[in-house]
């Protein structure tokens, strides 16, 4: 923000007189305090400060699992933090309070200012001051012709330079650089626009994540999404009713050289409908090339393997036959961890936890790993458990973790399984077969109606800032008078904002041109001075005079 705003806002900063401090005066005072530059800056700082817990504490909206972990790690502190919205900082009432106050502060500052600028931009420049010598920039020189001719010539020159003019008896005022104020305003309005855009996204936008196994599909409805963070005013009916099926996922990796194992390309082949029964579209989803459906962007943000298993229980029935997504735990070989829960196996519920190794190796000491991310030699290693999975008590649990506190380890030799191989469980518990693998893609679904307005606001803010820095608002006054020796032209210059500097130079150029056109000593150019000091001004006058005489 620039000093201009401070000036405008600053006018209201004085407290009303103590004698008349009624409720209206109080309200006026509070409003002026709120809309002051200082308050806006304090609020901006507070907003930044209030965001800190959002990056220090795990957030419900970003990583609910981390919040759950925090509860386990700090059982006493977590509920207190939850009461203070510590796990939902950006949705907290106090955060909203700062945000709304800042918004009000800015709006209360910028909107009246915009109105004043709009009014002032239609007004002509002020009358020329009587004593131009008191201005920061001033000079005078004798003119050749009569006073009215000199004044007319000066007016023409200033008009040619596209100054806005006001003329009077023996003087002309000129003003230029309204774009400075326009830029300043544009910046502030854009800042408001930016805040409004963010609010728009926060109220009407949503974010969701979906892990999708190749060959499967989902609909954009809350029950299908793994993680769903709706804006404040978003209901399930507001979600764009598209459906997406991932027909195929391919990943390729660099196979040799120092970059070996680095991803070369990911491609998720999608077929989708924007609404039920609508035409089917196809899209090759790649990293940073989102699919746009109905204003919603679908990004490819991750991938991994879902080994497929078939579990037959002790009664001989198939109780599970599906891909189970495993989560990569390292990049180089994409070794992935996962769990298989079979709550409905008889006689006992079963659970397995283990690792999927895309290109498996085993060292002579018996440790295993994966040496390449592609599934060149897919293997799984699983540890089995029987007992109570604690799924029937109604407490939600992650599908990626196995609570073995009420389970017993099933005794069988642990070894790597190749596709098609099985573990026959002892004690008539059944059989698990590793049937193969599929790949999964992790999709980020984002709808942010404020995104485009935010971009335009940011660009406008930048443009406004540049404009207000590069353009200076300045006034040039000319007074022409006749004394005993002939016509004297007085020039005065004033700038209200000169962030980039250079008005002195401009004034000097202008003075030079005036002297060439109007001066009795055409061709000579006296240096313009910027001193307010009377003595030096007089001295310069003498120099100018002397020069003209010398000619």
């Amino acid at each position: 923000m620039t000093a201009g705003v401070a000036d405008v806002a600053g006018k209201g900063m004085t407290r009303p007189g103590k004698a008349k401090f009624g409720p209206v005066a109080w309200l006026r005072w509070i409003w002026r305090q709120l809309t002051s530059m200082r308050t806006a800056l304090v609020l901006l700082f507070l907003l930044a400060l209030a965001s800190i817990p959002g990056s220090v504490l795990p957030q419900e909206g970003i990583d609910p699992a981390a919040v759950a972990q925090y509860y386990t790690a700090h059982p006493a502190l977590a509920p207190v933090l939850a009461k203070l919205s510590g796990f939902d900082v950006f949705g907290a009432p106090w955060f909203a309070a700062i945000y709304i106050l800042l918004f009000t502060s800015l709006a209360g500052c910028v909107l009246p200012r915009a109105y004043r600028l709009a009014k002032s931009s239609r007004q002509p420049p002020p009358k020329a001051p009587r004593h131009l010598g008191r201005l920061p920039q001033s000079t005078d020189f004798p003119a050749a012709g009569p006073a009215d001719e000199a004044l007319a010539a000066a007016t023409r020159m200033l008009r040619a330079r596209r100054f806005r003019l006001r003329t009077g008896d023996g003087w002309v005022s000129a003003e230029k650089g309204y774009l400075h104020e326009v830029g300043n305003l544009l910046f502030h309005l854009a800042l408001l626009g930016l805040l409004a855009s963010i609010a728009l996204g926060g109220l009407f936008g949503y974010k969701a994540n979906k892990l999708l196994v190749a060959g499967e599909g989902f609909a954009n409805t809350p029950t299908a999404l793994d993680v769903f963070h709706p804006g404040r005013l978003v209901t399930a009916s507001d979600l764009q009713p598209f459906s997406i099926t991932m027909t195929k996922f391919t990943a390729s990796y660099i196979t040799s050289g120092s970059q070996r194992g680095q991803p070369a390309n990911f491609n998720a082949s999608l077929s989708y409908t924007a609404q039920p029964g609508g035409p089917v579209g196809h899209y090759d989803l790649q990293v940073n090339h989102p699919l746009n459906v109905d204003g919603v962007q679908v990004f490819l943000i991750g991938h991994g393997y879902a080994p497929t298993f078939k579990v037959t229980d002790g009664t001989g029935r198939v109780v599970l036959d599906q891909p189970v997504p495993f989560i990569p735990v390292e990049e180089a070989g994409l070794s992935s961890d996962g769990v298989i829960k079979v709550p409905d196996a008889k006689p006992q519920a079963l659970g397995f936890s283990g690792e999927f190794l895309p290109t498996a190796y085993e060292t002579i000491t018996g440790s295993v790993g994966s040496e390449f991310p592609a599934a060149n030699l897919p293997r799984v290693v699983l540890v089995g458990y029987e007992g109570n999975l604690q799924l029937n008590n109604g407490q939600p649990q992650s599908v990626y973790s196995l609570n073995t506190s009420q389970m017993r380890r099933i005794d069988y030799p642990i070894k790597m399984l190749a596709p098609g191989q099985s573990i026959v469980l002892p004690h008539g518990l059944g059989k698990l077969t590793f049937t193969g693998y599929r790949q999964w893609a992790s999709l980020a679904i984002t709808y942010d109606p404020g995104q485009l307005p935010a971009l335009f606001s940011a660009l406008a803010a930048l443009a406004g800032l540049i404009l207000s820095f590069l353009v200076r608002r300045r006034r040039i006054f000319v007074r022409v008078s006749e004394n005993g020796n002939g016509t004297v032209v007085q020039l005065g210059g004033l700038t209200r904002s000169d962030a980039a500097g250079g008005f002195e130079v401009e004034f000097a150029e202008l003075t030079g041109e005036f002297k060439r056109r109007l001066g009795s000593a055409a061709g000579s150019s006296a240096p313009a001075k910027s001193a307010v000091d009377e003595t030096s001004k007089d001295g310069a006058d003498e120099v100018a005079l002397a020069q003209s005489k010398g000619e």
Binding site: A219, P222, V319, V342, P343, N392, G394, P396, S398, S442
Partner: protein, 207 residues
């Protein structure tokens, strides 16, 4: 990208509550904040509440009930299903998955009520999502579920309710009256007394 059990966040319950228009009785219960993972150790109010450990429920009075969409699908058994063919019955449609803990908690309640109320013209259906048919059928054997479920791996049934009363979490239970209009939505696990009271009020209602 970790798939966590899907539950409404407290904020969503508030949003749902706000969305309830005139004529809609909204019963947002004290135990609603059990929706977040972090707070899920709260058992919710297990007392004499209208619905048990659920996060929210909505009841629509006769006259303000939205018409249920045309829902068709294939049952786990392979037969075809049409919601419209159930007109004349009160339909209870439960969205569930075998992996979902609250679904497993409420399953015995649903199974019992389905049997008890069949004679009164109430038909229960499940909508099995994010599951595999083998696991779903094993679940039905475990809880002795006698009513059929739609095999809805693409969530097309949930999507069909987009413009009316979409289920916002798993489990969710819709009660549809004899005229094919949506009378209630319970989000979260149902309680025996709560769901029975809901169904009874739909049964005794004018439609």
């Amino acid at each position: 990208m970790i798939r966590l059990p899907r539950f409404v966040r407290p904020g969503r319950v508030a949003a749902v509550a706000m969305a309830a228009a005139a004529g809609v009785v909204t019963l947002t219960l004290a135990g609603c904040d059990g929706g977040s993972i972090a707070n899920s150790s709260d058992p919710g109010n297990s007392g004499n509440s209208f619905v048990g450990a659920s996060y929210s429920s909505k009841f629509f009075q006769v006259g303000s009930r939205p018409l249920a969409p045309a829902v068709t699908g294939t049952l786990l058994t392979g037969q075809s299903f049409s919601l419209r063919a159930q007109r004349g019955h009160v339909v209870v449609l439960n969205f569930w998955g075998s992996w979902c803990a609250p679904c497993r908690q409420e399953a015995p309640i649903l199974g019992t009520l389905a049997t008890d109320l069949r004679g009164k013209g109430v038909r229960f259906f499940g909508d099995n999502v994010l599951d595999s048919p083998d696991s779903a059928e094993a679940f039905e054997r475990t809880f002795n579920i006698g009513y059929p479920s739609i095999n809805d791996q693409g969530e097309q049934v949930a999507l069909a309710f987009h413009d009316t009363v979409p289920p916002s979490a798993i489990p969710s239970t819709l009660v549809i009256d004899r005229a094919g209009r949506i009378a209630a939505l319970v989000v979260g696990a149902v309680s025996f007394n709560g769901l029975k009271a809901l169904i009874d009020s739909v049964l005794t209602g004018k439609s």
